[in-house]
């Protein structure tokens, strides 16, 4: 899971509004509004960088959080978005 690499889904539209990422699914018109950490992770996701590196370079650098709990929270957040096709695992 630490080496998980994800990319943004191909069936979504996303816009940053007042610091929050607003994501609309083309499949079922579901709407996702990410908080500031979620937005930072979304912006860092590029289909190449492992999730653990994103947590180190983006989340732990910019927010005062414990690394293990940050990684756990981000993994949970990413898994949730993957289950709706908003993010996709890169193999």
């Amino acid at each position: 899971m630490n080496d998980l690499v994800v990319a943004r889904g191909t069936r979504v539209a996303a816009r940053k509004v007042a610091g929050e990422m607003v994501i609309l699914s083309a499949d079922d018109s579901s709407l996702y509004v990410l908080n500031d950490i979620g937005t930072a992770v979304w912006e860092a996701v590029d289909g190449r960088t492992p999730l653990s590196t994103i947590v180190d370079d983006v989340v732990c650098r910019d927010y005062e959080v414990d690394r293990d709990s940050a990684l756990r929270d981000v993994q949970e957040f990413v898994a949730g978005l993957m289950s709706h096709g908003v993010l996709a695992e890169v193999r």
Binding site: T10, R11, V12, A13, A14, R15, V17, A18, G19, E20, V22, L24, S25, A26, D27, D28, S29, L31, V33
Partner: protein, 283 residues
């Protein structure tokens, strides 16, 4: 032989058309006339009654549908609405109708049982698709014009859209108590009246006005309103916009439009007690 036939056709053309003119109605909502061609007089009667304020026989339709009435029981009456796009053709299905629409050719057909609701649904869907491409949307909202400017009241069922419309003073013109029609115009957005009625069971007026404000309805003891941030406005819009497409390009357009609307039109949370004072609050 050919010449004689040609001459005969020409001379007869002065008296009778060579091809029977299609009968039907033209329904214009949001300045977009849609032609519904049908030879069924009972359906024409139903449509003329339901859409009476929006009939525009003088307009050339931007889109046309050939409508055929089929017997009850032709379709599964329990079938939910599905909207599917493939190669520019949209297929619409529900328990009371089947329809296809070629957006590029601006033509389509509808097979439906004898009721006014199938056309109502097809019109809503076609308008959402047209508006999504050009920068507009249909919104679950009542809307009204006062002093030449429109206000929208959005929220889910039970939030008070119809109540606030009922409470409108006499100088207010109701555009709709259920589905608002929003188009980008110039530097802002314009609301148009719609025939898509809610609990009032009465269509809005066929008029339009630039939108001054959007209100998200909350029931409350006092009449108060507070400004919504842009992100909350986009969230509110996306929860209440009618959208049927699963097309990625239209989805992007729609989100762009919602963000643009939020940047241009002030939006407020409105808590209101159900009495006429609410209209003083928002003035």
């Amino acid at each position: 032989m050919t010449e004689k036939a040609g001459c005969a056709a020409e001379s007869r053309g002065d008296i009778l058309p060579a091809v029977p003119l299609p009968s039907g109605v033209v329904i214009e909502v949001g300045n977009i006339p849609v032609g519904l061609n049908t030879s069924d007089p009972a359906l024409v009667g139903l449509l003329e009654h339901r859409f009476d304020r929006f009939l525009r026989p003088d307009r050339i339709p931007a889109f046309q549908f050939d409508v055929t009435v089929v017997p009850q029981g032709t379709f599964d009456p329990e079938a939910d609405l599905t909207v599917v796009a493939s190669d520019g053709r949209w297929t619409l299905r529900r328990g009371d109708f089947r329809a296809e629409w070629d957006a590029g050719k601006r033509r389509g057909w509808i097979r439906q049982t004898l009721n006014p609701y199938a056309i109502d649904s097809v019109l809503r869907i076609v308008h959402t698709l047209v508006l999504a491409a050009e920068g507009g949307f249909l919104l679950h909202a009542s809307s009204a014009v006062r002093g030449g400017r429109a206000v929208l009241f959005t929220g889910p069922s039970g939030s008070g859209k119809t109540t606030i419309a009922r409470l409108a003073p006499p100088d207010v013109t109701l555009l709709t108590d259920e589905i608002s029609y929003v188009r980008r115009t110039g530097d802002g957005y314009t609301a148009f009246g719609t025939p898509f009625a809610g609990e009032l069971g009465e269509s809005g007026e066929s008029t339009s006005a630039p939108i001054a404000a959007l209100f998200r309805l909350d029931r409350g003891a006092d009449n108060l309103h507070e400004r919504l941030g842009d992100a909350e406005t986009v969230r509110t819009l996306m929860r209440n916009i009618l959208f049927f497409a699963t097309d990625r390009s239209l989805t992007r357009h729609l989100l762009d439009t919602a963000c643009d609307f939020a940047a241009r039109v002030p939006a407020y949370r409105l808590a209101f007690a159900p009495d006429a004072r609410v209209w003083s609050t928002i003035q």
